[in-house]
């Protein structure tokens, strides 16, 4: 029988640094909840909003797969590997921090805040060579179906990471249902609702709610209002 965990939007940790407002689904920085540390290999799910003209100064990472998905506005990325790029909604960014990487992320638009998801997944191999990539994803023309945005395979759709993880984004009109099959035995799926309302396994999920489900081979997601969501399919043990 499937096991599940529900993290409602209002149960998340929060941090207000003035220029940065962040909601943490899992323990992060000064938010520590021993009952809310991770979902398998999914360790960080931050829902960030950065004021115009502000951003994250130069800081390091190592041994983590770091994925950013912009929801509104744009972020300028600069890193110690020489990459300089801007990401905006409709794109996904990945960094394999490996042996170490430094980077900055700034909202260059002084007037509009940038809102994005910051997602960290434990790698399946430590000390890999650092890597950066970003790709455009087409969610606009794929209503009522899932779009793969991340996988473990360099030749597959979306970006790839050093972990047996698959991410799909969905945009469903009210009343529509999509079926999702867990990609690998031992994986679970964490559904994060970006907008609207969906029902999964009899559980109603509203905007910014998170729902983990494992010990199952798949499930259906039904939109009870127009909805957008992200499914993160990750190993439960790694």
């Amino acid at each position: 029988m499937a096991q599940t965990v529900l993290h409602t939007a209002d149960s998340r940790g929060g941090a207000d640094h003035g220029w940065l407002k962040s909601y943490h689904t899992f323990s992060f920085a000064s938010y520590f909840n021993p009952e809310r540390v991770q979902f398998g290999a999914l360790r960080v799910l931050n829902d960030d909003s950065v004021d115009g003209g502000m951003g994250f100064g130069d800081h390091p990472h190592d041994n983590m797969e770091i994925i950013s998905i912009p929801l509104e506005g744009s972020l300028q990325h600069k890193d110690s590997m020489g990459n300089l790029a801007t990401i905006e909604p409709g794109e996904i960014q990945v960094m394999s921090a490996g042996t170490g990487i430094y980077h900055t992320e700034y909202n260059k638009d002084k007037n509009v805040p940038v809102k994005f998801l910051q997602i960290w997944v434990f790698p399946n191999k430590r000390n890999v060579e650092p890597r950066y990539d970003q790709v455009r994803i087409d969610t606009a023309s794929t209503t009522n179906q899932l779009v793969q945005v991340l996988s473990p395979n360099p030749d597959d759709a979306g970006v790839w990471i050093h972990q047996d993880a698959w991410f799909n984004m969905g945009k469903l009109e009210s009343g529509n249902t999509v079926d999702y099959q867990i990609h690998k035995e031992g994986n679970g799926a964490y559904i994060f609702v970006l907008e609207g309302t969906v029902e999964v396994n009899g559980q109603t999920l509203n905007r910014r709610d998170g729902y983990g489900i494992w010990d199952t081979t798949g499930f259906a997601i039904t939109a009870t209002a127009n909805a957008e969501f992200l499914i993160m399919d990750v190993p439960m043990e790694f």
Partner: protein, 108 residues
Amino acid sequence: MEKKIEILVIGTNAPILATVLRLLNTNENWNATGCSAIEEVIEACDNKPYDVLLIGAGLTDGEEAILTQRVLEIYPSIKVIPHYGGGSGLLFAEIYLALAGGTKNQAQ
């Protein structure tokens, strides 16, 4: 005065090691010391007891295993944990979980 938690950190990426040490030492109840080589860790452990060994980036899997084995021979009660993330975000949770006896392979 309560005894501080002694934390030993090994990492071969000097700037990241410095960042991790700086962040750990912002907690007045913790005292973090850095090493960049296995022999430095062993020497440090020979000089005084540590509560936590945080293994940062730069060691091979084999070196991490050897280091863990040698340190546990000296201090069977020391918490040896791999560090992920580079310092920002996860560091404090990693230490709290290690001291509480938690592991990273959990579904919560």
